[in-house]
């Protein structure tokens, strides 16, 4: 594996990790909202 390929793999892993992080963060907010609605304290 060439250094360029290594770099590209790292870049893709990083972008996937960032997207996954953003999605998980959004889900935390969504589940928090759903929970508040479900327990009726909105």
């Amino acid at each position: 594996m060439t250094p360029e390929e290594q770099k590209e793999i790292r870049a893709r892993q990083k972008s996937r990790a960032v997207v996954m992080g953003v999605l998980l963060g959004a889900l935390v907010l969504l589940f928090y909202g759903i929970t508040l609605v479900k327990i009726g304290t909105h």
């Binding site: 594996m1 793999i9 893709r12 972008s15 996937r16 997207v19 969504l30 759903i34």
Partner: protein, 303 residues
């Protein structure tokens, strides 16, 4: 990095954009819109956060179905120009990743729907995914020239999911909305098939214009338009809607019928001179947005 996410050809992990592409985001516009209209037309109240979650689940379910469709059809997609650039046939992702992604997203969307709204909406969402993947993609698409009619049923589910997300039950109006999209799909799709020469035949998929010829296709466009018109007027005839939807449906369906009739009478075979066919296709999209918008406005005004 697991082996499941490495493309066998290049050794590269698949790009996140290719996972997004698996969900067919462009098809999602109509799914989200009709699902939202089913939800907004339903009697009763749903908290905006739960309503948003319901629409999100419909979109995720559609995305999951799209991913499983591409997982199953990777070898067929490779044979057609339009689809050869998709992540799997282009070799940017291995099939296992697409399968895991599709199955995971399916379960996630159904479970989230059940927990946020109710299990009837979740069950219909699950049925719609299974219908699209198993009945349409695996079973009927490669076997019959009426495949797009069956595929239309899969696309017709969203209002039938959005409605029970609010009410917890299914009544005549969401079924009428389901029927409207179901019978709208054949004239919509075959109008396109007349002027866009696809290479479905190369991939062994029996599309009506290829298998039966253009004249029967034009005749069937007219036939399904007639049935679609009945479905469009059903909410009026069953007294489930008021004059706003009634007027909109009558005028818009009348124009649809005029365009479809013109197409059914023509014998043009040169795609460059298929103005009326292109007009019918473009109008068919506007038509569906119009009628679903009208039913929501109607229900809000006369509720």
């Amino acid at each position: 990095m697991t082996t499941a996410t490495i493309d066998a050809r290049s050794g590269m992990p698949a790009h996140w954009r290719d996972f997004l592409a698996l969900t067919k985001p462009r098809v999602m516009t109509l799914v989200v819109f009709t699902g939202l209209c089913g939800l907004l037309a339903a009697p009763g109240h749903i908290h905006p956060i739960l309503g948003f979650t319901a629409i999100l689940c419909i979109a995720l379910g559609a995305g999951a179905a799209g991913a499983l469709n591409q997982w199953y059809e990777a070898d067929i997609d490779a044979l057609m120009k339009r689809t050869a650039g998709r992540p799997l046939p282009a070799g940017r992702m291995d099939r296992q990743s697409a399968l895991h992604f599709g199955v995971g997203l399916s379960f996630f969307s159904v479970i989230l729907m059940g927990m946020a709204t109710n299990w009837l909406a979740a069950a219909i969402l699950a049925i719609s995914i299974l219908f699209y993947v198993i009945v349409y993609t695996i079973w009927l698409k490669p076997r019959t020239a009426q495949n797009i009619v069956i595929g239309g049923a899969a696309g017709a589910f969203p209002p039938l999911i959005g409605w029970p997300a609010v009410t917890g039950d299914v009544s005549a109006l969401p079924i009428a909305l389901f029927a409207l999209i179901f019978f709208w799909t054949p004239p919509h799709f075959w109008a396109l098939a007349l002027f866009v020469k696809t290479d479905y035949a190369n991939a062994g998929i029996p599309m009506l214009p290829v298998v039966a010829g253009e004249v029967p296709t034009r005749r069937q466009i007219w036939l399904y338009t007639a049935i679609m018109a009945i479905a469009a007027m059903a909410p009026v005839l069953l007294r489930l809607s008021g004059p706003i939807y009634g007027t909109a449906a009558l005028l818009a369906t009348g124009l649809f019928a005029v365009f479809a009739f013109q197409v059914s009478q023509r014998r043009e075979t040169d795609p460059a001179r298929m103005g009326p066919e292109k007009r019918l296709f473009k109008y068919s999209i506007l038509y569906l947005f119009l009628l679903f918008g009208a039913i929501v406005v109607d229900r809000w005004v006369f509720a």
